[in-house]
Every structure is written in structure tokens, then in C-alpha cells.
């Protein structure tokens, strides 16, 4: 039982990482009809830029470097969409072609990142953080900061979508693009904001992952990609609250699974469940109205 | 007449379908007689296209029955309903854009032994002979509908009217027992409307049964033997056009509106 709660605690920490990344992915999917397979590399970019600012260039404090890096990923996402993905998506009606373009972006980013940061395991320049007992859980202070931060971000996203004019327009665009087009929303601006947020959240997710794992490599986020897919699909592609719930479920599932099965397969567990569920509910667990 | 109605080629019973709470078809019940042209009319949004899709199996009905030539095909997948002898065209033409016009017809023919790979490799000679005969037949049909000169063009390059004709020829090559046409004359020029009307009459004279959605009541009066009126997803009335003009309910629900709209154009 004791061990279960420790793993449960780790699950909550993983859920925080997955939630950050999954919300970003699902926000972007809400306004496009394709999935961005370079998303894992957006995450890696956040972690790697933090490393650059923290260890290589300005030698900034980690907690200063991280937000700057995440914002840079947001800007990168806007640029990638404006100059690469959006033109292809406009020209080819088959979303699979745009997805292939995002595959290309993934390979491009991963290889360029390998040239810059090598394939070696990297470590942030920050004090070593020792696990502390919190109730039945065992967390390091850094991980606790990440978790609190993720909760704050989720609340902020909720407030943004529900309370602000910008958020309402984002939801309108996501629910029905053609309706939004005719109702005087500045589609271009909202699209840019959405891509920025998607990139920002990817960056934050990547950094959070590196903090949780206490190291990073160029490819560590990529192998996490399907965990994030699992959360997004579980919640229903395009649904923000669904993604948050999906992240919680997937985080807890993957981290408590090693109590029952080989730990090497813990990341696969969530996905197997998603696949089985999909076979019975092909529209996702939280179907979205208004999207065919 | 009695015989036509006791042994319909197609009949629907209480078909229902709603999309996310919006009821599109709400109990459509009608019989389509053999060897006649039947019109399916009704105001915009009455559910005509949805009814055709329910019959042909593109959309699964929430409830209700469909039978073709006495066989209950309710719930069957589209390809099996098609194999039962039903062909349909689409309101917005759906051509196989990357293939040639000739291939659009050839692929649509029934019972091709080359559609089984074993035959392709074990009986190549027979498959080849069949292909030649099929190409000849497709060319004849293309010639009949004035598309012969376009045989080697990519179907996506065709004009709107040409695509309408292509859809009809693609259905005809399969020699269906019942042909469903969704607004075959919408958006084409008056001369071609006339021509398409003649083609449809020819098909009926050749023994085919036809159910066509049509807005223009002048055309319906001229070429259709029988009319089914659909309103708000329900069958409102059936009969000859001349009879329906006498029907107060029909005139109120539909005819008046369309006649006015026609005058307005």
C-alpha cells in the first residue's frame, strides 16, 4: 500500500507533464484538421533551449531560462505554422499530406538539434533536489514546483477560454471554423495565438519532463509522444478539458502500472487501454459536438 | 397500376434519422413502382438527400426498413445494397477524379473476374478479354451520353454538366434494377436539362425503375410518372402530379412555395 501511494504521487507528477503537453497539442488540433507529429520536437526544443540559456549561453538561472525558452518555442510554432504548415494545409485538402509535412518538420528539427546539442544526455545546472515525504507521497521540491505550476497553468487556460473575449473567439474557431469565418473573428490572429499557446505549452511540457526525469536528450520527448497522444485521444481529440482529464488518467495509469507489470512497459499501458477503448468508441471518450 | 403498387421495386417503411438531435428524416414511408420514373419532391431541407443516402446505405438509419425487389436490405452496408441492384448519383457530383472518364465507367461494372487477384495472376487471358469487352461497352455508353470525346480525360477536369452525365453513365454501366438520381439536372443549362430528361425516359423505356429528386415541377410534370412529396422528413403524399396539384395540404406545404419561387427567377 505504501509503495502504491509513492507511485500514485509519481503518477500525479507525470500527469502534470502530460497535461501541459496534451493541452497544447489538443488546442492546436482544435483549429486544424491534422495532427502535428513534430510536437515531441517542440517539447524537446523547449528543454534544449532552456539548457542552452542555462548552461551554454547567458548562464541564466534555470527558473529564468525556462519561461524564456518556452516563449521562444511559442514564437517558433507561430513561424512554423505561418510559413510551412498553413500553406500546405491550405493547398492540399487531404490532411494526411500535411501530417507528412509535420513528419518532415520532426525529422528536420530532431537532426538539427542533434547537430547542435549532440545525442548525449544533458543535465541542467541547478542544485540537486532531494525527494521529500509529503503525506504518503515522495516528491522532490523541483517536481512539486512543476506540479503546482501545471495546476496554475490549467486554471489560467480555463479562465482564458471561459472568461476572456480572446478565449471565446478561440473556442468559436475551434468548434466551427466556417461559422467563425463569417462572424467577424480575426481568424489569422486567433490562429497565431493558438499556435503560440500550443508551442508555449509544448515547451513547458518538455522542460517539465526534463525536470521530472532529471536529465534530457534530443530524443527523450519523442518517445513520450504517444503518451501524450493517449491523453489527447482519451479526452477526445480537440477537447481541452478532455485532455486534462486524459492526462490525469494516463499519468496515474503509467506510474502505478509497474506495481503489476514489467516497468519497461509502463508507457505502453495507457496506450493499450486507449486502443481498446477506441475500438468500442471510435469517436473518442468525450466526443465533441459539431465536428464530423 | 395495382400491380405496380403491390410489387414495388423499392419500398421504405418508417425511416428515421437524426443528426446530433436535428431530425432530418422522420418516418419516411413510400413505395417506388417498377419500370416508372418516380419523382421525390419537397422543400429544401425536407430530407430528400438523406432519404436517398439511407436507402443506398451511405448513412445508417436510426430505425425503419428498406427493401429492394422484395429483399429486406435494412442495415446492410452500402456495397451490398449496390450489389443488390441499386445505383445512385450524388447531388454534388462525386467523380473519381484521378481516373479517366473511361475508367470511371469500367470500375463501376459488376462481376469483374479481375477484381479477384487470383484471376489476375492465374487467368490473365480471360481477364484481358473481359477488359476489352468492358471497354467496348463503356465506350458505347459514353457515346450515348455524348462523353465519348472525353474518354481519356481525367474526370476531375470535367465541367459541372459533364460530371452529371458521367455520374449517370457510371450508374448505367452497372445496369441497376433501381436508379436513384439526386437532382440530376441542378445547375446545368436548359438544353442539357432537356437532354438528360430524354436519357432518363430512355432508361425507363429500357426497363429500369428510377427515383429522382427534382425541384423543377415543370420537369417533374413532363417526365415523371409518379410523385412522392416529402416534407419535414415525412411522406406527405404520393400520386400523379395532376392529382397532387389538387391536394390542398401539398400545395400549402410545398407547391405554392416552389411555384412562387419559380416565378421569381
Amino acid at each position: 500500500m505504501h509503495l502504491f501511494w509513492i507511485d500514485f504521487g509519481t503518477g500525479l507528477a507525470t500527469a502534470a507533464v502530460v497535461a501541459l503537453a496534451a493541452t497544447g497539442l489538443t488546442l492546436q488540433f482544435g483549429i486544424t484538421n491534422y495532427i502535428n507529429f513534430a510536437y515531441g520536437d517542440f517539447m524537446a526544443l523547449g528543454a534544449l533551449l532552456t539548457f542552452a540559456l542555462n548552461n551554454q549561453a547567458l548562464h541564466l538561472n534555470f527558473w529564468v531560462a525556462a519561461p524564456i525558452a518556452a516563449i521562444l518555442v511559442g514564437v517558433f510554432a507561430v513561424i512554423a505554422n505561418q510559413f510551412l504548415l498553413a500553406p500546405f494545409a491550405r493547398r492540399f485538402s487531404n490532411p494526411a499530406l500535411t501530417m507528412i509535412v509535420t513528419f518532415g518538420l520532426s525529422l528536420f528539427m530532431a537532426n538539427v538539434a542533434t547537430v547542435i546539442w549532440t545525442g548525449n544526455t544533458l543535465f541542467y545546472r541547478m542544485p540537486i533536489s532531494v525527494d521529500k515525504k509529503v503525506g504518503p507521497f515522495l516528491w522532490s521540491p523541483d517536481v512539486m514546483v512543476v506540479m503546482v505550476f501545471a495546476v496554475v497553468v490549467m486554471i489560467l487556460i480555463h479562465l482564458l477560454l471561459k472568461m476572456t473575449r480572446l478565449g471565446k473567439m478561440m473556442r468559436a474557431l475551434s468548434d466551427n471554423t466556417s461559422l467563425a469565418l463569417t462572424s467577424g473573428i480575426d481568424v489569422r490572429q486567433i490562429t497565431n495565438v493558438t499556435w503560440f499557446m500550443s508551442g508555449l505549452l509544448a515547451g513547458l511540457g518538455g522542460i517539465a519532463l526534463a525536470v521530472q526525469e532529471a536529465n534530457l536528450t534530443v530524443t527523450s520527448a519523442e518517445s513520450y509522444l504517444f503518451v501524450i497522444f493517449a491523453a489527447v485521444i482519451l479526452g477526445g481529440i480537440g477537447s481541452v478539458y478532455g485532455a486534462m482529464l486524459g492526462a490525469l488518467a494516463i499519468g496515474l495509469l503509467t506510474e502505478t502500472a509497474p506495481l503489476y507489470i514489467n516497468a519497461g512497459y509502463k508507457l505502453d499501458v495507457g496506450f493499450f487501454i486507449v486502443i481498446v477503448l477506441l475500438l468500442f468508441r471510435p469517436q473518442g471518450l468525450v466526443p465533441r459536438l459539431g465536428r464530423s | 397500376m395495382a400491380n405496380e403498387l403491390t410489387n414495388p421495386i423499392l419500398s421504405t417503411r418508417d425511416l428515421k434519422k437524426s443528426f446530433l438531435g436535428v431530425t432530418a428524416v422522420n418516418g419516411a414511408t413510400f413505395d417506388v413502382p417498377r419500370n416508372l420514373i418516380t419523382a421525390l419532391i419537397g422543400p429544401n431541407g425536407a430530407g430528400k438527400t438523406t432519404v436517398v443516402s439511407l436507402i443506398s446505405g451511405q448513412i445508417k438509419a436510426d430505425s425503419g426498413q428498406v427493401s429492394i425487389d422484395g429483399v429486406d436490405v435494412s442495415g446492410w452496408p452500402a456495397h451490398r445494397i449496390s450489389q443488390q441492384g441499386l445505383m445512385r448519383t450524388f447531388q454534388l457530383s462525386r467523380e473519381l477524379g484521378g481516373m479517366t472518364v473511361l475508367e470511371n465507367l469500367m470500375v463501376s461494372a459488376r462481376r469483374q473476374s479481375g477484381e479477384n487477384l487470383l484471376n489476375v495472376f492465374l487467368r490473365p487471358g480471360a481477364v484481358k478479354k473481359e477488359e476489352q469487352a468492358l471497354a467496348e461497352r463503356a465506350l458505347e455508353i459514353l457515346n450515348r451520353y455524348g462523353l465519348y470525346h472525353l474518354r481519356d480525360s481525367r474526370a476531375q477536369a470535367l465541367s459541372g454538366g459533364q460530371k452529371k452525365l458521367l455520374e449517370i453513365s457510371r450508374a448505367v454501366i452497372a445496369d441497376p434494377k433501381i436508379l436513384l438520381l439526386d437532382e440530376p439536372m441542378a445547375g446545368v443549362n436548359p438544353a442539357l436539362i432537356e437532354k438528360i430528361g430524354e436519357y432518363i425516359i430512355d432508361l425507363r423505356n429500357g426497363g429500369m425503375s428510377i427515383l429522382m429528386i427534382e425541384h423543377n415541377l415543370g420537369i417533374v410534370e413532363k417526365i415523371c410518372d409518379n410523385v412522392i412529396v416529402l416534407a419535414e422528413g415525412r411522406t406527405l403524399a404520393t400520386g400523379k402530379m395532376s392529382e397532387l396539384r389538387e391536394n390542398e395540404e401539398v400545395v400549402r406545404a410545398y407547391l405554392g412555395e416552389v411555384i412562387n419561387a419559380d416565378n421569381g427567377r
Binding site: N111, F229 | S113
Partner: protein
């Protein structure tokens, strides 16, 4: 000189192997319209199975060994592994093509490949985890008593024979009425069902054939390397094969060869050779891999039909002679149409 010649032969081998791989992807993606993002999984399964079929059984000890080894001759192991992979591909198709809409299908395909890749890194009972399969025998080498260089020349010839046979098969399939049904499904699967074709069955058939081709390519890769492990492949490498198909020409059997040759020579094997023999640094090779992304974007943007576009079959091809009907033109079609 001899080292260079060996490099050239090896490169030719890769070109041939990826021609086979591209042919299969071309069938499933360009001719049937299925976003088969799990394709590289079939390459890997083919490689693993070829290895397992041709290796002797080694009981598991300290994480090394295999669950089963059939000790077959390599020449036989390859096609049998490919048949098995084709069946697996059909199974995957049967499960996922049945119910999933396109966007979920695409994601699930990628995810399945990623999950199985992850599995292959952890599983030590079947595929020996990260160690993978080693000492996969070089087919014929033992029988003929030849060294690795001679074997490379010989086996390049074997691969060529396979490729030519598979090219003929693909040509026959795509020219047949079955191929025409595939293309109809690609163009509009709703119409294909409307005209009475069992879309689901044909999609599964296409997946099975595609899986067979992928596995032949994978089996050759494993035999050339004499090993196969999780670092021999990655699910995202499917992008390279997509690029070969798109750059070469979608729906074109010869285009698949052009695409495979272009990528292998200029972007994969060539740079690897230059990097390891002259530059002594892997950076150039990595940059070349990044450039494949750019190549694909440019190609798709400026020449979406590819270098060797899909050829349309004219009436004459079907009839075996010029058509003899008098030209009839529907005069009403020449009138200006309303919308």
C-alpha cells in the same frame, strides 16, 4: 578502389531494397489512399521475423537469446517472414480500418508503431531487447564459401531479381481491375462503396500486399547488417519512404525507383560514406538527414506529382487498338453552363 567499389555495391543494394519498400508504400498510400504511417513497423517486423526464422533457437540466458529460431535457409526465411508480416499487416488493418475515422487512424497508426518500438526495446524474451538479433546468417555465404565482399555482390544480384519480380507483380496488380478498385477507393471511398466494392476488404488486401513488400525490404536490411535491433529502425523513418514516393512520383512504379535512388545516393548512403571516409564526423550525415525534410517540402510544393508522374491509361491501352466509334460530341455540353 575496392573499398569504394564495395561502397557503391552496398549503395546499389540499399537503392534496390528501398525501391521494394517504396513500391509497397506507394500501393497502400498513393493507390489506395490509406495514411499508412505504421509502414516502417512492417519493415521492422519483416526484419525481425527474417532474423528469427533464419537463426537457430538460443534459450534465453542473461537477457540474450530468442524465444524461437527456426534455423531456416535465409533465402526461404525472407519470403516466409514477408508472408507472416503481410498477415500481421492485414490484422492491424482489420482492427483499425473498420471503425476509425481518418485523423484517429493516422494517430493510432503512428502510436502503434511507437508502442511496438518501445516494446522491442524492453522485451527480452522474443527479440532480445536493445541487444536485438545478432549474427543473422548471410544467406548462401556458408554454402558457397564466399567472403563478405563477394557475398555483397552476389546478394545485390539476388535483391535485384526480387525487385524486378516484385516490380512486375506490382505493375500487374495496379494495371488490373483490382488495382482500379484500389484507385477508386483512393479517389472517393464513398463512391467506391456506392458502386458495389467492398472497401474494407480491398483496404485490408492492400495493407497485406504493402506489408509483404515492407517486410521483404526489412528482411534484406537485416540480412545485410547481419543484425537487427531497436536502433536499426525508428517509426518516424517512414517519412523517408514517404519522401521517396512523393519525390519519385505518387502512383508510379518507376517513380519509386527514382525516389529511392535519389534519397539513398544523395541524402543517406552518400553522405554517410563521405562523412566517415573524408570528414570523420557524423555532422554532415545528420544535416543530410535534416535536408530530406526540406527536399520533401520543396518537392510537394513545386512538383506534387513527383519526378515520374502517375500515367493515365488511355482507351487504346484497354482495347489493344484505337477505338473505332465515330466521335460524337454532345453539343449541349459546349453551351456555357450555369454554375
Amino acid at each position: 578502389m575496392s573499398a569504394f567499389f564495395l561502397f557503391v555495391m552496398t549503395m546499389v543494394f540499399y537503392v534496390i531494397v528501398f525501391w521494394i519498400g517504396s513500391l509497397g508504400l506507394d500501393l497502400v498510400w498513393s493507390r489506395t489512399g490509406i495514411p499508412i504511417f505504421a509502414y516502417y513497423l512492417y519493415v521492422a517486423i519483416g526484419a525481425y521475423l527474417t532474423g528469427l526464422f533464419s537463426l537457430p533457437h538460443v534459450p534465453l540466458q542473461n537477457g540474450v537469446g530468442n524465444l524461437f529460431g527456426l534455423d531456416m535457409p535465409g533465402l526461404l526465411a525472407l519470403p516466409l517472414a514477408a508472408v507472416a508480416t503481410g498477415v500481421i499487416a492485414m490484422g492491424i488493418g482489420a482492427v483499425f480500418l473498420r471503425r476509425l475515422r481518418t485523423d484517429y487512424l493516422a494517430v493510432v497508426m503512428v502510436a502503434v508503431a511507437l508502442v511496438i518500438w518501445d516494446f522491442s526495446q524492453n522485451d527480452i524474451t522474443l527479440v532480445s531487447g536493445n541487444t536485438g538479433l545478432t549474427n543473422i546468417p548471410l544467406p548462401l555465404a556458408g554454402v558457397l564459401k564466399i567472403n563478405i565482399n563477394q557475398w555483397t555482390y552476389l546478394y545485390t544480384g539476388v535483391a535485384l531479381v526480387w525487385a524486378l519480380a516484385l516490380w512486375w507483380v506490382m505493375k500487374t496488380v495496379s494495371n488490373s481491375p483490382t488495382g482500379r478498385v484500389f484507385r477508386a477507393i483512393r479517389d472517393d471511398s464513398v463512391v467506391a462503396a456506392t458502386i458495389g466494392k467492398n472497401v474494407y476488404r480491398y483496404q485490408i488486401l492492400s495493407m497485406g500486399i504493402g506489408g509483404f513488400y515492407a517486410a521483404i525490404a526489412g528482411g534484406f536490411l537485416a540480412q545485410l547488417a547481419t543484425s537487427w535491433n531497436p536502433s536499426s529502425w525508428a517509426p518516424f523513418e517512414v517519412f523517408n519512404v514517404f519522401t521517396m514516393v512523393i519525390v519519385g512520383g505518387v502512383g508510379s512504379n518507376l517513380g519509386a525507383l527514382v525516389g529511392a535512388a535519389l534519397l539513398q545516393v544523395l541524402f543517406i548512403q552518400g553522405p554517410t560514406y563521405v562523412a566517415s571516409n573524408y570528414l570523420h564526423s557524423p555532422t554532415f550525415e545528420t544535416l543530410a538527414a535534416a535536408a530530406i525534410g526540406v527536399l520533401m517540402w520543396l518537392s510537394l510544393w513545386f512538383r506534387p506529382q513527383g519526378a515520374v508522374p502517375e500515367k493515365l491509361k488511355p482507351t487504346k491501352w484497354y482495347l489493344g487498338r484505337e477505338p473505332q466509334l465515330a466521335e460524337s460530341i454532345n453539343p449541349d455540353l459546349t453551351v456555357e453552363e450555369r454554375a
